[in-house]
Amino acid sequence: MRPGSVHAASAISPRLIFSSGLVLLIVLAILALMQGGSLVAWSDIAAAPFRPETLAQAIIETIRAPRLSAAILVGICLAVAGAVMQTVLRNPLAAPDILAVTTGAQLALVIVTLLLPFYVPSLAATVFGGVFGGLACLTLGGGLRAPPVRLALAGIAVSLSFAAISSAIVLMADDRASGIVLWSAGILDQTGWTKVATVGPAVAIGLFVVAMMARALDLLGLGEDSAKGLGITRTVTVLALGASVVLAGAAVTLGGPIGFVGLAVPNLIRGIGITRHRQVIPLSALWGAVVVLLADVTAQWLSAEGSSIPTGAIVACLGAPTMLILLRFARIGQEQRPRALSISSRLPAGILLAILLVASAIAVVLALAVGDGVAKTMAELAAVFDLRAPRLLVAMGAGMLLAGAGVFLQAATRNPLCGPETLGLAQGAALFSLAALLGGLLPGSFGFQLVAAAGSFAALFCLFAFGVHRTPERLVLYGIALAASLGACGTIVVVEARLQATQALSWLAGSTHARGMDDVTALLPWLAFLLIAAVSFCSRLDVLVLGDDTARSLGLSTSRTRFAAAAMAATFVAGAVSSIGAIGFVGLLAPHAARLLAGPKHARLLPVSMALGAILVVIADMVGRSIIAPRELPAGIVTALVGAPVFALLMHRRRS
């Protein structure tokens, strides 16, 4: 079956889709030009082609028209790149952002702008970075023919860690929260035509190559063997992927990392029954432009009073609803379950215990001794103990909760891709935490925790209320969209409310900054709940992973158990996030790493996951405190940095 192949209830005529898109684009373009004060009027836009020497004309020419062009180009590039990647990889989940091309390009851009002492053309940097990110994803995921879910998992992992590196670099170069928010969310502000003019030719070449390959892409969609039989060579594949990476790189150069367009638009176009690339490509391009422009108009409209909301955040906000519609009304191809819940092996219990004990001992000692300078004597240690011990304990508790949540979610959904961060539970809790913070609730207070729990449960409700979870791929696709939407709402809240840098980062990325013994006691009830849930649920989780029919025939009422497990996971997440914010990677990766060490049975898997989760967060926190001391890198950024190599190891073991 072809990727993203869909069976629509009714096929809408491509011509209608094209003309309606064009009309919408023109309307939006006019809106975009007129937006932002009354400086530009109808008459100015009408007169613009004749270039009168007015202020309005100057504004149009130097600010608004370049921004408009950038928005349109970004939309075209991302959507076309996504369409091509989905076909070539035969993977409906493929897109520049999912395959880490976007984040790779962004990382390269951050490096050449902030770190390198000499000038590198930004397009060269983004294309190089995009290739690097894509290759990292393919290498980790298992090559061009890797199963969709595995490739997406690898891509998400690489993306998260690249994004973390980018954030770390931005934080080191610029301490303001606004800096990191703006760098990481996609901004279309242009000063003059320079960027548009430099990427223009590359975009043209990329689009030309793709257009020439439309027929070959049709054949590629038929499957590797038939394509080969019809004379499609590997060169075609490489050329198509190369063109899509160039397009994605151009998009990042123009507007930073804007996600979802490449994933959603081509899937939607295919969803309404259009399959020939001669039509898919131009329609994707047009609607990609419409989506980005719409987001940009919305962003400018919302940020009228001087604050500047990133366009990428708006696009991401639209991510979840779009994906929901897509999943509701279209059938995404390759609806098969990943065959196995990740690989696992096991060590003898004694060795395992020894490893965990040694690792936690090292983590504890490091966490207490290292920070802003290393404490070498007992006296020095005693001096910093009161500051560092609570942070250590909070980090451990949160790590255990997140890892526990990951195990529960993966068992409940039988889906190795699920974690608090890929299903949006962590982002939901973080968004509600931000709201609670703005509402004046004290972090660590019961009310605050309750609001955070409301957040994770709201995310859970959004996930399961709409019936898109029939296959794991859909669930994760929607979960990632939901996570991105909620995270983007968080970004918008931070920008709009002008929250302080450390506070904002603390909830968006996760940090143990300034946590005290109060926060430790606030965590205790949640940990008690985690332990009770783990003990009472572990044999049920063992049965649940055998599949619905088998589990039911063994006497488990699966829907109730699954719901209970998911609700418990949401509770754990709320506990963790209300104490240290949305720390990523831990809940997703600790269970996988634990499966590798302890095997699949939950009686061993759960405790080992929790231990690994705790160690991971503690080490991340320690590194974050010390690496750019006296300033701090949020632990959440470090977990992503630490998580990536661990994950790389995991994926490699898995393939060999």
Partner: protein, 287 residues
């Protein structure tokens, strides 16, 4: 042809029925996968369910075993409505081996078989001696003693199938449902599995209901057969009685001949594999 409910015969009623389904229908998206099926399963016997692909065998099996609630109609297990029993109560009497169960990675044979004890274990307890015995017996029964530590993913299709059978046996059910249990097995392992099931049936009185595709296997193996077509029960009874060329050809939509088996004298089904009459008749004419 009309469906003949076995329980309608008073002589057979005296033997009792362990599962009684009356007018069971299952509707998916407006289409009846099972259409007003009434069957009675007798205890201590082997019942085969036969029919073409998509005729509703798996769905009927799920209804009878309580995995799926019928859209209408009722199923009684030992006189009690399945709908009124808890999952645990059903699972202590009934084991089901599905058509292609998922195997979670990393689980080894022993751990899989262990899961069969789940319905018998009180909450929050570890495995007890009785559980261990049941697991040992089940593993021995399917001859997987040497492979008990092997990961399921590393087994061949047939070995994995036997591991799943062992899990169902560890459940120590009175009734065992199997959906195409022989489909991944080579002839020898098919024979071994059927022999094992037959032994359990004869020695321990295990009631077996299995979906089987090989009609000759059914004749050898099953005491009763339920023949389905398009969701309806076409006929029920002993294979020796109901396997007629007309009925089978009608059920499968291809030409099936039935001749006496040269050794046993029981019916032997000959399937016209290359259903091109004119060609064969032509060849015959030349002779």
């Amino acid at each position: 042809m009309t469906a003949v409910a076995m329980a309608a015969d008073p002589a057979e009623k005296s033997q009792g029925t362990i599962i009684q389904a009356t007018d069971v229908s299952v509707v998916f998206n407006g289409m009846a996968a099972v259409d007003r099926a009434s069957v009675a399963i007798r205890p201590g016997r082997i019942t085969a369910i036969c029919g073409a692909n998509g005729s509703g065998k798996s769905t009927l099996l799920k209804c009878l075993s309580g995995l799926e609630a019928p859209t209408s109609g009722a199923v009684l297990l030992a006189g009690q409505a399945l709908a009124g029993l808890s999952r645990g109560q059903i699972a202590r009497q009934v084991a089901v081996l599905g058509q292609n169960p998922e195997t979670p990675a990393g689980l080894n044979v022993e751990e899989l078989v262990e899961q069969g004890r789940y319905p018998h274990r009180p909450w929050l307890t570890r495995l007890r001696a009785g559980d261990r015995d049941a697991i040992e017996r089940a593993i021995a029964a399917v001859d997987l003693k040497d492979m008990r530590q092997r990961q399921l993913a590393s087994l061949s299709g047939g070995e994995r199938q036997r591991a799943w059978v062992a899990m169902a046996l560890a459940q120590e059910p009175q009734i065992l449902f199997l959906d195409e249990p022989t489909s991944f097995l080579d002839v020898r392992h098919q024979a071994e599995l059927l022999t094992l099931l037959r032994r359990l049936n004869r020695e321990e009185g295990l009631t077996i209901i299995a979906v089987l595709h090989d009609l000759n296997q059914v004749v050898e193996f099953a005491d009763d057969v339920i023949l389905m077509k398009k969701g309806q029960v076409l006929s029920t009874g002993a294979p020796v009685e109901i396997f007629t060329p007309r009925l089978l050809s009608h059920a499968f939509g291809c030409t099936v001949d039935v001749v006496p088996h040269p050794h046993t004298g029981r019916p032997f089904c000959l399937i016209d594999w290359v259903a091109d009459r004119s060609d064969r008749d032509g060849a015959r004419d030349h002779r």
